[in-house]
Symmetry: C2
Subunit: 251 residues, 2 copies
DNA sequence: TATTGTTTCCGTATGGCCTACGGAAATGAG
DNA sequence: CTCATTTCCGTAGGCCATACGGAAACAATA
């Protein structure tokens, strides 16, 4: 499937939900069987376990022992529900670090990475037209405050911000991609690559790929850790180098 | 939708398709109305125009004036078709640059970025369990060759490779995310943000977000170009800084 | 208690998706 | 003309989001 579209519906309604604009409880009328919070929690639970593809309105309703259409009383549609899910898990980051600007950016990256680890379906949520809720905004503020303390010019802060944000979300996304596929398909990454041993036997052409062959022979791929360990290292390495570059560019 | 899963089917069959293992034309039997190439081309055309979400088997068959089920004679399923589409467009990169290792990595990034621009649905294709076809492999070889020429240790080359690859695909993906959403939903990014003016009016809290407010007041967001221009700048900036960091880490 | 206004619940229906199955149609060889 | 082989594709089953409209629950009022 394609990336999940954030809600394109009425912005005012969506914003009210994201910020949980308190509305005085209705004095009359039938009592609700479910709340927005319950729906969002159930939806996150389903997506955590079975992926965003399995998170259908019918599935969530079933989880809550409620008719499918009842959900539409509380949430405008599936797109908006995904917005609410994303902003909710971003709030789990709990960003309260002290330290140098670099330490704080690193902290932000680690916490964001943890969110993706806990909720791999975040990979499928586009952050280009993001849910403008507290989870997202608090994160933006945190990174921007850190970068502003670095001594960069204001304009440069915003450029660096986009680069950092892109790297963090991008790297976290590819890092959890594998787990997500493992969970959804029931096949582990190791198993998948193992089944493709045929490729190296039947298709890999040593003459066509000399650099890869040389690296292989040099033992560059004889790693100790698991695939997940390697991705983790590259995440840290890449962020470090990116921050090195940003820092170096200031002088 | 969730990220499109690469084909989990029989690896041997998929690899044969990716590398177009030549098979002698059948001497007997009904003549095929369509070829694998035609199917892949039609599928890419549909996805280019209407997004991967619109690329259904029925839609592609319609494009070719053929029954839906006929496609399954030539392609195992939708997942494998997406693999073929992805590897095909990656071949468009045509990587033949000379120059320093940095120039070559930059060239690779630019060409890959161009593929995403031309085929925004690539954003939705997971590259964690990639199609092991010529398009992907030639790209890997190219970057690895460049990085190997940088003077990094073999082990470091592979770590840097994952970081670069992650950055390029991640940044290119978010860069086209906006266009894709514009194409699929029919609403431009500017229009979308405009409709969310309410947020700044009704929800943005100056006291809660001092860093953002300060940057705003300093004119950091008074940019000239379009949203697309800004993302392009950040892509270049981020890659530059990442390569600076990698280069600096060698000494 | 009976009525009325309000709110929530949810069954049905529409139109989409992928693909397993199996028979019909086309083709070349004998 | 027969027949093996290959491709074409209609049908059907089981998913999905959500528009619509009526039924059910509840508080206030008469």
């Amino acid at each position: 499937m394609a990336a999940e579209r954030s809600g394109g519906g009425d912005p005012a309604r969506t914003l009210a939900l994201l910020w949980r604009t308190p509305q005085e409880p209705k004095p009359v009328g039938r009592k609700p069987k479910v709340s927005v919070d319950q729906i969002v929690t159930a939806a996150i639970a389903v997506a955590d376990r079975e992926g965003l593809g399995a998170m259908s309105m019918a599935r969530v309703a079933q989880e809550l022992a409620v008719g499918t259409m009842s959900l539409y009383t509380h949430v405008p549609g599936k797109g908006e529900l995904i917005d609410l899910m994303a902003d909710t898990v971003l709030q789990e980051r709990d960003l309260t670090a002290e330290g140098t600007w670099r330490e704080r950016v690193k902290h932000y990256a680690d916490r964001t990475r943890a969110v993706y680890q806990a909720h791999p379906w975040m990979r499928d949520v586009s952050m280009v037209r993001p849910p403008l809720g507290p989870g997202l905004m608090d994160g933006q503020e945190f990174v921007l405050a850190a970068l502003a303390d670095s001594g960069l010019e204001p304009r440069q802060v915003t450029v660096a911000h986009v680069a950092v944000e892109g790297f963090v979300h991008g790297a976290a996304a590819s890092e959890v991609d594998d787990q997500q596929l493992a969970a959804v398909t029931g096949e582990s990454g190791d198993s998948w690559w193992g089944a493709r041993q045929v490729f190296w036997d039947d298709y890999f052409d040593v003459e066509r790929y000399p650099a890869m062959t040389a690296l292989w022979n040099a033992g560059a791929y004889d790693t100790e850790g698991t695939l997940a360990d390697n991705m983790r290292s590259s995440f840290d390495y890449g962020l470090d180098k990116l921050l090195d570059g940003i820092e170096g560019g200031m002088r």
